[in-house]
Symmetry: none
Subunit: 414 residues, 2 copies
Amino acid sequence: MTRFRAIAIGNELLSGDLADKHVKRFGAFLRQRGLRLSAAETVPDEIPAIQGALSRAMETADVVLVTGGLGPTSDDLTVEALSDLLGRRRVEDAASAQHIRDRISRYGRTPTEGQLRQAAIPEGARALSNRAGTAPGVHAEHEGAHVFLFPGVPSELEAILEDHLTPWVDSQIATRPLRSAVFKTFGETESAIASRLEGLDWTGAHVAYRATFPEIHVTVYVEEADAEAGARRLDELSAEVRERLHPLIFGEGADASLARAVGDALTAAGATVALAESCTGGLVAQSLTGISGASAWLLEGLVTYSNASKTKRLDVDPTLIERHGAVSEAVARAMAEGVRARSGSDLGLSITGIAGPSGGTPDKPVGTVHLALATAEQTRHLHLNLPFGRERNRHVSAWQGLRMLLQEARTRNT
Amino acid sequence: MTRFRAIAIGNELLSGDLADKHVKRFGAFLRQRGLRLSAAETVPDEIPAIQGALSRAMETADVVLVTGGLGPTSDDLTVEALSDLLGRRRVEDAASAQHIRDRISRYGRTPTEGQLRQAAIPEGARALSNRAGTAPGVHAEHEGAHVFLFPGVPSELEAILEDHLTPWVDSQIATRPLRSAVFKTFGETESAIASRLEGLDWTGAHVAYRATFPEIHVTVYVEEADAEAGARRLDELSAEVRERLHPLIFGEGADASLARAVGDALTAAGATVALAESCTGGLVAQSLTGISGASAWLLEGLVTYSNASKTKRLDVDPTLIERHGAVSEAVARAMAEGVRARSGSDLGLSITGIAGPSGGTPDKPVGTVHLALATAEQTRHLHLNLPFGRERNRHVSAWQGLRMLLQEARTRNT
């Protein structure tokens, strides 16, 4: 199997100014083809460091994808480092020099020495034309290893990747498209999810977990040369994963979101919703209105932060608040029923809690949250004791509220 | 000079699923101290690859900062790789095991085998307590090289970096602190900000810009060995930057946020606020309630998504909506005045607009947003035409609303 490595060059990547994104881009490019990067290295704009990374990569990989250091300034040293390492002269590529002159003259300028220097490539290498900028890419072969140099500017890298790397890889390398399926879950930890999937037969396949608080995303990958067998295997594994993770999965595919799932389920059920949030401060409203078309099923959302607002806006009986406190099952139920009645919605969701860091008492510590979901038939209640900080307590509370909506709406659809 | 290297471990970093951000974090951490990363490597979750990277790093650096692979699942191999490389057994760290049990039991669960495995560290190494998660970090020394292992979860890495790496580096390594000041701005592009600062004398100093939509953060760095001279230089430059960027700066320092600035200004003014949001769907409420203690000045927030809700909740005259449309100056003014009157707040803020992608008309294209701020004396209005997608249109609209609140509250304080 062809081995790929990436090298990202630039002081700014090591100084805390910029996070590299090109390794991810190369990784995605290769994965679509069933290939993978075996490693990546980030080095500063210094010839010994660049040459060290190039040597290591050429020893251990068949194809080396390098970004950065092709610009016009004195700290752009990649071509010089590669040429010297390979013991080759740098020669001007005539087409690239012409391209630089044409491009600069379009702005009514003449190229600087530095800009023209970009046309120099190692002798015997191939210049890769750059329709998005001045610096050509470079493709050099040395003792069986192929080195590709890309500019660090994302749009220029993208153009050269598309125009040159793509056709080269697709014609020269045996690719084996990887099939994958993403399952997005909420409500369990990564290890709990992993233990639910224990004992599954992962032959010719593997699973990856990604935590994006408060969600865990599970991706199933199938490596299988035969298209039909691969698709069948992915279907089998997906069915297993669906069954084992059943109540936790809220959506499938990279674009799925809990809010979108709620919106889809409400649309299918023909149900409308109104929200009464306290500790989550509008996070449920914010998530649901992030979905285009939410106005079809979201009537209103109220952030009733003060007790007066709970009473005036939601008809919560002030004596309930006095007796049980604003953070209580009784008040949560009254809020949900109140917002439903006042707005005329089918569903009314409420959240009241103590997100922290202050506001806790021995009786009701920080992290105490009450949710209620009112329908025409009944009002359900959920009590949480959350251990996180303010931001995460709010986040989990809102997601629990979204899940109550999702379950109710899905029940109505079955 | 002490040499630092970073290693990022994880298949997801090479497969195109995720871009590494930790190298940048380490780079920034070191730069604040006049130190730098000499290189970084990214390797998959495979023992030989991890060990190869560790060996190379320990040969060429004094301090090796490693992220990832400390989780509870079978592909978390970092501790095993390091232990085997150093020829040490793995031993359970009692305090870490207890911490894991305590943390998991807070959720009413017992730890899985995988979770408990996280307490195992190389013999002779130091466990670095993790207040944000279960896996401890690890600090191991071998032949003069110091290896620090961090979890890949950003919040956990951050906690261990703060609690353990910071005191260690600051006490063990000769640093030359870089003085810096951060100015957070909203309302102009990066190049507009940069041109406002053109012509400033940056001798012995430099400036960096960071765009975190919709804000631009400007950091001024001063390199100066003498503490007093450095502080003086930073003060001078800060005063210049403040003057040149004046109306755009909403806060100073890494912790500053627009919402916090609003909260501080409202507190100082002794003023309360109520919100009526349509297109922003609660984003202003969400931002303001993210500030602990917001209940002192935020009475309520309403997401009046439907026309009926605008009428019922805010007393917006239905004929106004008929005549001008829900997205109009007249309705924005009525919403702000209505929410202020109904809630009894000092300030009432409203936002109504077309975030997109659908809902636009030739008259009122996507990106049309009206904001209004009502006080006892007057109602001010702001009309925006935003060119972004749905998410960013909402974000900028909310930030404009926050800025209106900030200006009003600050005016009351002067």
